[in-house]
């Protein structure tokens, strides 16, 4: 039931994409998104699709897991496509009642749907091939310059990795408490909205309490091991950019530049 939820799932592997530095991957995703939003024509989208397809192929992530991850956004994709379909001006193809479908509308609907799907798939490439720990470490390093502005970068990254770490634990805990209250005759799926909201109380109170307890214990355990924030903290595995990282970044910049040039020429 609740256990089937996947959030920011990571598929371990040993492809070039997996081995790229997390910083490189984060920057590549940003470049990718920028390029995607600059693409205007079939050609531009075609180029982006080839890039995405190549990345997926190299990473060895199965297409089925990519598609499964799209489920939550199906509704948004359909809604935006429909809005684009009906709200574009141009050469009218079909007209009925207050609706009219234009050639431009069809093109916009298809491209908008493609943009959203490719956007989500591109970000999946990051989370599917990068372990949460590497991801937050990469983010921390990238945001390091902000430390000069007194932004608590290390603390933010630490909070993020702890939150990610605790999601499965919380799901498991919720499952357990729900079972225990059900054993005492609680029912969560009967009655009106107010009844249902009230029925959540026996789950939420123990869940909050155990979260606070867990946080407290974690803090104590960290302090017992002399954790005192980011200052002077060293890493077991220090990230170093390799040749492949530079190559990938150059490629990414070239793609973005190419898309911008294409858009200039109206393609």
């Amino acid at each position: 039931m609740l256990k089937d939820v996947t959030l920011g799932q990571y598929f371990p592997g040993d492809s070039v994409v997996h081995r790229l530095d997390p910083r490189t991957k984060i920057l590549l995703v940003i470049l990718y998104i920028a390029a995607l939003f600059n693409a205007e024509s079939w050609v531009g989208y075609g180029v982006m699709l080839v890039c995405l397809g190549a990345a997926i192929a190299v990473s060895g992530i199965r297409l089925s897991s990519m598609v499964r991850g799209l489920k939550p956004i199906v509704f948004i994709v359909i809604l935006t496509s429909l809005l684009n379909l009906f709200y574009s001006t141009g050469e009218v193809l079909v007209q009925f009642w207050i609706f009219k479908i234009t050639r431009e509308g069809i093109k916009a609907a298809i491209l908008m749907a493609a943009r959203l799907v490719m956007l989500v798939m591109g970000t999946f490439m990051l989370t599917y091939t990068t372990s949460p720990i590497m991801l937050t470490y990469g983010l921390e390093l990238l945001l390091n310059p902000l430390k000069k502005l007194k932004v608590p970068v290390h603390e933010l990254a630490m909070m993020m990795s702890m939150a990610l770490r605790l999601i499965p634990t919380l799901i498991e805990e919720t499952d357990k408490i729900m079972s225990a209250q059900k054993a005492r005759g609680a029912e969560f799926d009967t009655g009106n909205l107010i009844d249902k909201a009230k029925a959540m109380l026996p789950i939420l109170v123990p869940l909050f309490l155990s979260s606070f307890r867990r946080a407290d214990e974690l803090a104590t355990a960290m302090e017992a091991r002399c954790y005192h924030g980011g200052e002077g903290r060293t890493r077991l595995n220090v990230l170093k950019l390799a040749f492949r990282d530079y190559a990938a970044l150059v490629l990414g910049v070239l793609v973005l530049a190419g898309i911008v040039v294409l858009a200039r020429f109206g393609l």
Binding site: A180, R184, G185, P202, V205
Partner: protein, 289 residues
């Protein structure tokens, strides 16, 4: 102790079937639980104990097979599920973590309230359950979160006992308590058993505990019932138990070692008392000879 109140028939449970995470937790289990008996379920971590007991009150639905409560399938209808939740009480591991109400009284009353009993009956049951579990009257109006660990555990068990189940299932009810607390909780459960005649099912790691209290034991191993029988019968197969990664009671170990040394110890031995009488018999025999 003649007719089974709960009957588990060919029960199989597979987690996440059809995915790479597929796992058979229970494999064709048959088990009877008789009226008024004390059944000890023992097994290694991951042997399927927790999955099994959650089937007993329809918290988990079987992949195949059925569970019969007094001859009727408990997963037959919504009504039968509701009924079994009242008749088979399940106390989870560390039950104190499910307390949520403002007062001890209201928390114990949660179960009976869900059974839609009238207020007078709820009040009677709350006080009765509190008495069975040794929760003093003065604690009833306190917040459950101000109590000590052992008291919280007893309030949580009272919350299930207040439903007056005919079968009380407890998953490691003594885990994490000090020896005094363990003994008290065990006594509370026994009081409920004696005064109401309810069947008790205790899942435990502690062989001594199972040996001293249970009428019958069921040993789970890799999702199958490996043995059932009286503690004597089960502990007589010490070697098999050890192969399943289970410890036998200390006294059984000692007896087995003595036998290996050539001491002809009579009968099965799993408590200190039995060891003493077995040794006495041995001594007496020698003297007579």
């Amino acid at each position: 102790m003649n007719e089974p109140i709960l009957k588990v028939e060919n029960l199989t449970h597979i987690y996440s079937p059809g995915t790479p995470f597929e796992m058979t937790a229970l494999d064709n289990i048959d088990l009877d639980i008789y009226k008024g008996e004390i059944l000890g379920i023992i097994g290694h971590t991951g042997s399927g104990k927790s999955t099994l007991i959650q089937h007993l009150n329809a918290l988990i639905k079987p992949t195949s097979g059925r569970i019969l409560l007094e001859g009727r399938d408990i997963n037959e209808s919504k009504q039968s599920v509701r009924e079994v939740r009242g008749k088979v009480g399940l106390v989870f591991q560390y039950p104190e973590y499910q307390l949520f109400e403002e007062t001890v009284y209201r928390d114990i009353a949660f179960g009976p309230k869900n059974m839609k009993l009238d207020p007078a009956e709820i009040d009677r049951r709350v006080r009765l359950a509190a008495r069975f579990t040794g929760v003093e009257e003065s604690l009833l109006e306190r917040s459950p979160f101000d109590l000590s660990g052992g008291q919280k555990r007893r309030v949580a068990i009272a919350g299930v006992i207040a439903m007056m189940p005919e079968v009380l299932v407890l998953d490691e009810p003594m885990a994490g308590l000090d020896p005094g607390g363990r003994e008290e909780i065990m006594e509370n459960i026994m009081t409920y058993h004696r005064e109401t005649g309810a069947a008790i099912v205790i899942v435990t790691h502690s062989m001594e505990e199972a040996a001293s209290r249970a009428d019958r034991m069921a040993v789970l191993s890799h999702g199958k019932v490996a043995m059932t029988g009286t503690p004597e019968e089960v502990f007589a197969r010490g070697e098999e138990l050890r192969r399943m990664g289970l410890a036998t009671p200390v006294m059984t170990d000692v007896a087995d070692k003595l036998r290996a040394l050539g001491v002809e110890l009579p009968g099965t031995v799993y408590t200190v008392e039995q060891m003493v009488s077995a040794l006495m018999e041995l001594e007496g025999g020698k003297r007579r000879a």
